[in-house]
């Protein structure tokens, strides 16, 4: 094993260099095209295409007797594209839905491929060993000629991708816009499918038909977590794919029994999981933290509002005992203490003697929250015509989200349409919200 690792690291062996370059190429083109395939919701079509390529490989060999990669890939492309066309035909012409159509093409073409492969193997007309690597892939078997073919294909893919980047982008995000530019969405779609097909062909020998779809899907999905921009996503997906290729090849070079394809897929899956968990904005952890922060801010703002509403009810300038706040908020006294301590740390309340009082900063923020709450109540009451006893709860949720701009618009609408004076909404000596008690008048 150590020897293998050394051989790999030093790259003294030309074969190692080929294999490495090949897997890099596969991973990178897979990531590039995969971004488009995933965003266009064609990820499983790539899977169908790959499975459908198998009979083409076998037939190309049966007809020509050659195992040269260009010949086999030509056959694979023809049968793969035929499979996708058949799938599209079934979706358009019958009541069979897309999912079943993908499954039919995928399994039946693959079955045909298996029949042909086993027949070739048993009929003695040739040694199947050259062909069965197309099932799970064998990066170790890549030779210089294979790499030339793969490089040409990859170059072609990248060239077309650069030339039509804008069109593909429009196809994904705004097909209508593409049409107004005078393009036929259909042909751009066909072009994209063609590129996906070529990408599958690049990886067919080293990753195999069963799992090549993962090289399209997984790096792209991983990249999606890190960015909202297409060009960044494409680059990142290519980087993830390329790295998966290299790392996967390295790992499987340590244990030559294990086929390369599955290992590459597992490395890509690792990138996916890491991205999904730790990506800064869309990642699971980041979103969890954000949600917790929001929830904390909400309880704090409710606390401030409760202080102001108590002040309205009872009179000015008092410090509120924990018990009274607990009743007002519906929390346990312990929870009230905890929130109060958070707020004290932020300088919004002052505490002492089991009581809390708003500081000047706390008062300002509290007033803003109360104002948001009541403006929203008014708005729901007059514009959405909710009953008076149905506006408090929604306002509880929305009060934290209203921006100063929205507040100004709400004030404006209510002043114009209902003659409500914005200055009278929170006065600190009023009677609180008018919506707590009864139904609509």
């Amino acid at each position: 094993m150590l020897e293998n690792a050394l051989r790999f690291m030093t790259m003294a062996d030309a074969n190692v260099r080929f294999v490495l370059f090949g897997s890099l190429l596969i991973g990178a083109t897979g990531g590039l095209l995969g971004s488009f395939a995933v965003l266009r919701r064609r990820s499983l079509v790539g899977d169908a295409l790959a499975h459908a390529a198998l009979p083409g490989v076998a037939l190309a060999y049966l007809w020509t007797g050659s195992k040269a990669l260009p010949v086999l890939l030509a056959g694979a492309t023809v049968s793969g594209v035929l499979g996708v066309l058949l799938m599209q035909f079934v979706i358009n012409f019958t009541r069979i839905k897309a999912d079943a159509a993908i499954g039919i093409v995928l399994s039946v073409f693959f079955g045909i491929g298996i029949v042909l492969l086993t027949h070739i193997q048993r009929s003695g007309s040739g040694n199947q060993s050259g062909l069965d690597k197309f099932l799970f892939g064998q990066a170790a078997s890549l030779v210089e000629d294979d790499l030339k073919v793969m490089s040409v294909l990859a170059g072609l893919i990248i060239l077309v991708l650069i030339l039509f980047f804008k069109e593909f982008k429009a196809l994904i995000f705004d097909p209508g816009f593409l049409q107004t530019l005078g393009y036929s969405t259909r042909w751009i779609d066909v072009l994209l499918m063609g590129l996906i097909a070529l990408t599958v062909m690049v990886g067919l020998q080293a990753v195999g038909v069963v799992l090549i779809a993962a090289m399209l899907i997984t790096p792209a999905v991983a990249a999606r977590f890190w960015t909202e921009q297409l060009n960044k996503m494409v680059m990142l997906a290519a980087a993830f794919g390329g790295t998966s290729g290299i790392v996967g090849t390295f790992i499987s070079s340590l244990a030559p029994k294990i086929p390369t394809g599955p290992v590459m897929v597992l490395v890509a899956t690792f990138f996916f999981i890491v991205s999904a968990l730790f990506a800064p904005r869309r990642g699971v952890l980041a979103r969890g933290l954000r949600r917790r922060g929001n929830a904390r801010r909400e309880t704090q703002q409710h606390f401030l509002r409760a202080c102001i509403e108590l002040q309205e009810k009872i009179g000015e300038g008092r410090a509120w005992p924990v018990e009274e706040l607990a009743i007002e908020l519906g929390h346990s006294p312990d929870k009230v203490k905890r929130i109060g301590q958070q707020l004290a740390k932020a300088g919004l309340v002052a505490r002492g003697d089991g009581r809390f009082a708003l500081t000047e900063a706390g008062l300002q923020e509290g007033l803003f929250v109360v104002k948001s709450h009541r403006l929203w109540e008014h708005y729901l009451y007059y514009r959405a015509i909710l009953d008076a006893d149905h506006v408090d709860r929604p306002a509880d949720e929305v009060e934290h989200l209203l921006t100063p701009e929205i507040i100004i618009r709400l004030e404006d609408i209510l002043a114009r349409e209902r003659g409500i004076d914005p200055a009278q909404i929170v006065t600190l000596h009023g009677t609180g919200s008018q919506y707590r008690r009864g139904g609509r008048e």
Binding site: L44, V90, K97, V115, T118, L266
Partner: protein
Amino acid sequence: MIEISGSFWIVLTGVLATTSCGLLGTFLVLRKMSLLGDALSHAVLPGIAIAFLVSGSRAILPMFIGAALFGLVTTLLVEVFHKKWQVQEDASIGVVFTALFAMGVVLITAYAGQVDLDQECVLYGEIAYTPWDLLLWGGDSLGPRPVWILGGVLVLNLSLVTLFYKELKIASFDPAMAASVGINATLIHYLLMGMVSLTTVASFESVGAILVVAMLIVPGATAYLWSDRLAVVIALAMLFGAVSAMAGYFLASYWDSSIAGAMVVVVGGIFLISLLFSPNQGVLARLWQRLQLSLQVAQDHMLLALVRRDEEVEEHAKLRPDELVGSAAVWGVWARMAFAKLRRRSLVQQADGLIGLSAAGEQEALRLLRKHRLWETYMNRLGLPEDHVHDPADAIEHFISAELEAELGAEVGDGRDPQGKQIPPSGIEG
């Protein structure tokens, strides 16, 4: 002798597996979950491999536990990735099943010494060895083990589907109604997934992953092309599965290839035949319907051309055949076919090389003209400018039924159309 009974056991194993899959597959296809079935049958592989490693044998129970666990994991992961991690649904299916399948392959190849499975066998099974994999009971052979296992699974599937038939049916066709009558959709979902996992495991070692995937999807989808009734679709799906198992075996022995693969080829053939020849959904039937329709439209247009000419010259006008054929606005051959049909229906008559309407033809033509102008007037009333109403009316005139004509007549009245032409009165007997 051993040869014949060997074939019998192989075919029986195939039939048991394919009918089980066909039965469950119908529901997967109806519920648009075919790809989840596909994913499931790939993703149980690591479960099976781990069960092998742990138990060191092909005992069905550990394998089932392993596979069921991973089946559940697949369903859960797809759901978590999609709903919680905000990955598109198709992409999350793709990520999950490729990762799990890759894991399975790595396990199998890494522990090749301990695991009596190889990656090819995972794909297309070892059904040919069925007759030698005997179930022994106190030294006596009870027949091949896979037959017992798959037979048991089929009986279980049949009983569960029969027991929960109503629930499955409602939950598949109308989830909202299912919820409103108190059917637990989640329970039905996991029941179905559980049956699919069990069937996958039971079929796996004898027929392999591709046969399971194909038989879960293709027979159900094919049967769906032939019938609208669920019970019939299920019966047909099981029949198609059984037929392909039998025919596939003979194809494989005739052409010396993988038996499971050949069974898939046959079911693919059945699908292709259905795609072409099914009476309602088939391609030929559709093309025939379209041809009939365009011939009908062409005939209508010819009648209208004649009756409009009548109106212009205020007498029974006649047109040269080429003028008439030109008026149909369809391609030459179809126009001539439509013309021949008009003559066969005696709606036109020919004199001195010119074509005119017969009495019956005139009635038919006037009724069409009435429909056309009623529609024009109606569209105009709805606000479409008068120079934009001809084309829509041209397209729809062929499809206006007697009832709709009566309704339009009541709405629009017998007056003039937007171009100021008289709408022919109704009450002409056809």
